[in-house]
């Protein structure tokens, strides 16, 4: 997605959020919807204004001939690939935490991230993972004894 298109999509997302809020507010009692309406109505107005600004600049740019469009396209593709990759890793960490809990997710994630994403050596990967996991475990489990989410599997077995 080009930056111009991205801007357009982002302002549309904001408009949808405020419009959704406005529709939901109408379902509440008169007293409960007062402040949500005070926020959502100007929200819809300003995000519509922003969407129109983005639309105008998007079409203006399309009309202009851009000399380095191929270079820009390659850069946009690179950025999109990096974004997809890091978003994938974040969602992977979330899924790991949800399924196996923090204590298993943390070392598994660190090990895979260092090795695959960071292309670190095996020594760095193993030592880095062990040290980080150890520090986190000692602080949160041994010293502070704070209850940490144990994951769907652990809860399921219990």
């Amino acid at each position: 997605m080009t930056k111009g298109k991205g801007k357009l999509v982002f302002s549309l997302v904001m408009l949808i959020i405020f419009a959704g809020m406005l529709v939901m507010s109408m379902g509440y009692s008169q007293k409960a919807r007062f402040v949500p309406l005070v926020v959502s109505i100007p929200g819809v107005i300003v995000s519509t204004v922003q969407l129109l600004i983005e639309l105008r600049s998007f079409f203006n740019q399309r009309l202009k001939a851009v000399p380095d469009s191929e270079k820009r396209r390659v850069k946009d593709e690179q950025v999109a690939r990096s974004e997809k990759m890091i978003v994938g890793w974040i969602l992977f960490l979330l899924a790991l935490i949800f399924i196996v809990g923090f204590w298993v997710a943390v070392p598994v994630f660190l090990l895979l991230f260092f090795r695959i994403y960071g292309k670190e050596s095996w020594t760095f990967t193993i030592v880095g993972t062990a040290c980080s996991w150890g520090v986190i475990f000692v602080i949160f489990q041994v010293l502070l004894k704070v209850p940490i989410y144990e994951g769907l599997l652990e809860i399921g077995f219990m």
Binding site: A32, V35, S82, V146, I148
Partner: protein
């Protein structure tokens, strides 16, 4: 009074209270620096250790620890864009861009000195206010609280950068997030999507780490390299002790801003219910409003670090005032500390100001001494610590991601908070990428909820007459001025440009 002041000071200068204060400082800084822990958890975990201590030792440990929490909280905010505590979020806005410019040492130096000086000023004002506290606190009713929140919300326009429309969208989105949860008037669950963890509203820690830390890590992964973008990897010239000293000098260079923001912090801390987040953001907005270079805010202005840091430490002195004088906690941390008063055999209230005045003065001295010690101890480790921003992204990103998720989970103990963090992290990245300013969102969420609660209370008490109260009218005038002055300034500047 003088006798009690000297007695409080003398009682502290024994080896045991000094040792406890020295021990409390790294503990407090640690709880401040790890996102999701915070001073309240620190106090709750440390209170059992105070059993059996005499009041002076107990407060040297507990109050000493609590007083320096935000001093530690600024460091991860500046280094990784991950504020340790909610009130440190405002420091990220300019502290993190300074680290990206290779000025992490300077930013940390300024943050530490501003925190220390703010804490000391807070303690001194606490001392001055002890005899006259009652009428000042009682002058504030829900109507004045509401107007203060509105005054804070108008600051959105000041920190919106180049695009007011984008700033308004983000600010309104923050206000919308503040409405999630039970309606304070009717008890109806609004925008809760059937999730029980949203009944109390969207958790601020989840929002802050999502909007700032997670989005910064995505950005770092996309751009590659390290947090500091100073050219070559070997260029660590902005990270030495002399840079920390430059930050310290900056704090004294902006001494008038430091004093003003400390007063803002003290005043907001004194008013129960407004909280430390409001203190930082109002101080930040004030700094942006009065700066000669408001355009630099958000891009690495040192005043943007000094203002919130001085306010969030000075507010501890302010919030101790109603706690000691009336037994009404000025903040959530002070509510926990109130439990410690009981454990240590003290009953806070007007009688304490008569019978136990030497202990009250000892508390003032604890705030002063721990803030001085904390600055000295932290400065010693700042130089090597600031070099962390040169570590390559592929090593820093997984640590920060894990800290973000741990902090978000620990904040309310529900994994649903992780989803909130991720959604807001992706939105935060979108905002960063497409030029939407992120600070208005936090102002919206912090002050929006307070404004709604106080509006309902004030309207029930006075109807539309809430705007006719003298102090409310003063705040209303200030609010109108805070909107019109920047417009007039902008108009004059624009006219000047056209005339040239």
């Amino acid at each position: 009074m003088i006798e009690a002041m000297i007695s409080g000071f003398v009682q502290l200068w024994a080896w045991k209270p000094i040792l406890l204060m020295v021990l409390a400082i790294p503990i407090g800084c640690f709880f401040g620096a790890v996102p999701g822990l915070g001073g309240n958890l620190g106090l709750a975990l440390c209170i059992p250790f105070a059993f059996g201590m005499d009041p002076i030792c107990g407060f040297a440990f507990l109050l000493g620890m609590h007083a320096v929490v935000h001093t530690g909280g600024a460091i991860p905010g500046i280094m990784f864009g991950t504020p340790g505590t909610g009130p440190n979020a405002a420091t990220v806005i300019d502290g993190f861009p300074m680290a990206q410019k290779g000025e992490a040492g300077r930013a940390i130096g300024a943050a530490l000195m501003a925190s220390g000086m703010g804490g000391i000023l807070g303690a001194f004002l606490l001392a001055l206010m002890i005899p006259v506290v009652r009428p000042v606190v009682l002058a504030f009713s829900p109507a004045e609280f509401f107007m203060m929140c509105i005054f804070g919300i108008t600051l959105i326009s000041l920190i919106s950068g180049n695009s007011l429309v984008k700033g308004l969208i983000v600010g309104l989105f923050g206000l919308a997030l503040a409405l999630v949860g039970m309606d304070p008037k009717t008890g109806i669950l609004r925008f809760g999507f059937g999730q029980t963890f949203l009944w109390d509203g969207v958790d601020l820690v989840a929002v802050v780490v999502g909007i700032f830390a997670l989005s910064e890590m995505i950005d770092l992964a996309v751009k590659g390299g390290a947090i500091a973008k100073t050219g070559t990897d070997a260029d660590t010239s902005g990270y030495g002790f002399e840079n920390v000293m430059q930050g310290i000098k900056d704090t004294f260079r902006h001494w008038w801003l430091l004093i003003r923001c400390s007063f803002i912090g003290i005043f907001i801390g004194m008013v129960p219910g407004l909280g430390g987040d409001a203190a930082s953001w109002i101080a930040y907005g004030h700094a942006a409003q009065t700066s000669k270079n408001p355009g630099q805010f958000g891009k690495g202005a040192v005043e943007g670090v000094i203002a919130p840091e001085s306010a969030n430490n000075s507010k501890e002195g302010g919030s101790l005032l109603p706690t000691v004088a009336f037994g009404v906690p000025g903040s959530s941390g002070m509510a926990i500390l109130l439990g410690a008063f009981m454990i240590l055999g003290l009953a806070p209230g007007p009688k304490m100001l008569v019978d136990e005045l030497d202990i009250v003065w000892a508390m003032v001295w604890i705030l002063v001494i721990t803030n001085i010690f904390a600055v000295a101890m932290m400065i010693a480790v700042t130089g090597p610590m600031s070099k962390l921003s040169f570590v390559r992204g592929s090593v820093i990103i997984p640590f920060v991601l894990i800290l973000v998720f741990l902090g978000s989970y620990l904040s309310i103990g529900h994994w649903g908070n992780l989803l909130v963090t991720i959604i807001l992290g992706f939105l935060g990245y979108g905002m960063k990428k497409y030029g939407y300013p992120r600070p208005p969102l936090i102002i919206g969420i912090v002050l929006g909820h307070l404004a709604e609660v106080e509006l309902h209370k004030a309207y029930t008490l006075w109807g539309m007459g809430l705007f006719m109260r003298p102090l409310t009218m003063v705040l209303l005038v200030l609010t109108i001025l805070s909107i019109t002055i920047p417009i007039i300034k902008w108009y004059r500047k624009d006219k000047g440009v056209h005339a040239a």
